[in-house]
Symmetry: none
Subunit: 193 residues, 4 copies
Amino acid sequence: MKKDKPKYRQIIDAAVIVIAENGYHHAQVSKIAKQAGVADGTIYLYFKNKEDILISVFKEKMAVFVGNLQDIIRDGTSSSEKLKAMIENHFQVLANDHHLATVTQLELRQSNKEVRLKINMILREYLILLDDILIEGMETKEFNPEMDIRLARQLIFGTVDEVTTSWVMNDHKYDLVELAPKVQHLILSGIKA
Amino acid sequence: MKKDKPKYRQIIDAAVIVIAENGYHHAQVSKIAKQAGVADGTIYLYFKNKEDILISVFKEKMAVFVGNLQDIIRDGTSSSEKLKAMIENHFQVLANDHHLATVTQLELRQSNKEVRLKINMILREYLILLDDILIEGMETKEFNPEMDIRLARQLIFGTVDEVTTSWVMNDHKYDLVELAPKVQHLILSGIKA
Amino acid sequence: MKKDKPKYRQIIDAAVIVIAENGYHHAQVSKIAKQAGVADGTIYLYFKNKEDILISVFKEKMAVFVGNLQDIIRDGTSSSEKLKAMIENHFQVLANDHHLATVTQLELRQSNKEVRLKINMILREYLILLDDILIEGMETKEFNPEMDIRLARQLIFGTVDEVTTSWVMNDHKYDLVELAPKVQHLILSGIKA
Amino acid sequence: MKKDKPKYRQIIDAAVIVIAENGYHHAQVSKIAKQAGVADGTIYLYFKNKEDILISVFKEKMAVFVGNLQDIIRDGTSSSEKLKAMIENHFQVLANDHHLATVTQLELRQSNKEVRLKINMILREYLILLDDILIEGMETKEFNPEMDIRLARQLIFGTVDEVTTSWVMNDHKYDLVELAPKVQHLILSGIKA
DNA sequence: GATGAATGAGACTTCATTCAT
DNA sequence: GATGAATGAAGTCTCATTCAT
């Protein structure tokens, strides 16, 4: 499996750094190769093309969010607690890796429709887990059982995403994780029963 | 003033159509010129460069939102009513012009950091009016006086934006304006006192 | 019509020279552009892509052969005379332009299957005229009325082509046109009644 | 001697198949290695470089033609009979191995000048034997003693080659060997006394 | 002898912008 | 003011060959 070889991760990590520092459109393959410490051609032993690198970056990093969220769902007590944990986790992961935050919130969004579509497919997995929490909370009557799940999901993801993007655009100059309690409260007030 | 000449508007309108139909990255200046019925060179008599066209498109179209919102603020009764009107207006304007919706929600976001920063500057005018509504509501105690205005703004804009983007991504296949009451309720529950 | 503009011919002529002097695989677009005295991009105002240049070179130059052959057919007396004139014309045109001879006999044959197929399509026009001469000669009994036209055509074209290619491979170091009478005699002995 | 080891032949045979099935320009060394069932690097234990493979393919296969032709010359009665046998043999060998025919008539001709020159050197051995037949025939007055040997050779080889190439280009869809008598007749009429 | 992961040079094409008419 | 022909910079990917194991 290519993904288990050390160079695979080297290239993924190099791509995050190069994209964050140079911007999406100036992240040439040769720059990524140099940052990863491999030859240009080596990139193509591990990735089909440049697009594949970008999508793989998103996929690999998203796996962290999804993995954490699965733990949260398994270990959480109430649906509210799970939702709060999800929000905090989202902030924490990105606050811990400024490069990654810049890449997911700003740079990767400049990609063309094809890449964006594939990114959305990957994102869907995360959103389905969010839906699971919402459904559970509606069944236990923690959340308003009458609410529109899709809109609730869009409220939550839209808010979390907007808060994060603003933080990145302001050069991470304040503490993102610190905002979690207030965001949790705003969102929960909106959806609870 | 160049903006009052007919070709200025012709080019702006052509740009919206060309970007919506071809996507941001395939919206060449020559295509916009052809759609506008002018020569390539003529574009540069009205705009400094391609970036200037894109920013002008956003600026001109944003003026509609801002104008409407100013009317809403002037004519509205309570802060809640104003906020509700704002949300409905946002949906209505974009539901009425699918090309514009595609351009603002999907295509223009593919622009580079520089353009996006300028777009954010323009957006700020709109968000300041939103802040005005929020401040007023907090003063009249309609909204929670303790809440963080910035986060409240991000909740509202993030949600409205996410709902709209999802609608565009689903090819406008359901009625966006119809969603307004539920979105208003979700948001107001979150921020009201 | 692009073909009538001076730059079209400039580029065609430049391509012949560059291919002859550098070889098919080292005839970069930028070299052709420089030889033609235009910018790289200008090439693409007149040709769809590099392949299109190569095919156009062959098409334009082949037109000379075809044009001459049409004159020969119109003006010739007997079929034998027409065939002899065709052979001599073939040698003369290539003997007069060593660059062209190198390109058609050696370099263009290194092209990929797609280009070669298109080249063959163009060549067909020439071969059809040759067939016309053969058919006429068989009807007038100048040529053996029982012979296989396709084989006769292959004898003629194969011989003329082989003689020319050998001449090019020997660096044009002897007089090609001088060989015409002997070649004519060999071929005519084979096909005459 | 490397040539006697089994892998040498394996690679030669693999090259013929890969070139015939993929075309000259898509016959990568790695494909040939895989077809031969050896590692990429192993190729270089038996051949100096890729060019060497191609030339060796031609050399090995040409040996069959030369061997047959030597038998023909030794066993033949008259020069005409020898020439006829040569033509028939040429057709038979290629008709019996369609892959080989495709490779020699179409694919190998796409090689660069350097390779083609070396191929011509190998071909020379075959053409010298042909010359031997012609000289003998001129001495015995079977053939026109005044004719230009080089041109006669080019007539014969050019015709045989053109007939074969056309057959390959038409996907071997008719019987090549069946054409031999007519081709022999056309050619002999041209050169006989 | 055999392997196969790694190397790195090299070129076609697009498109925003200019400027002579 | 309007035109549109011309410009030229810039980057992805392939594949023959090597060499440590």
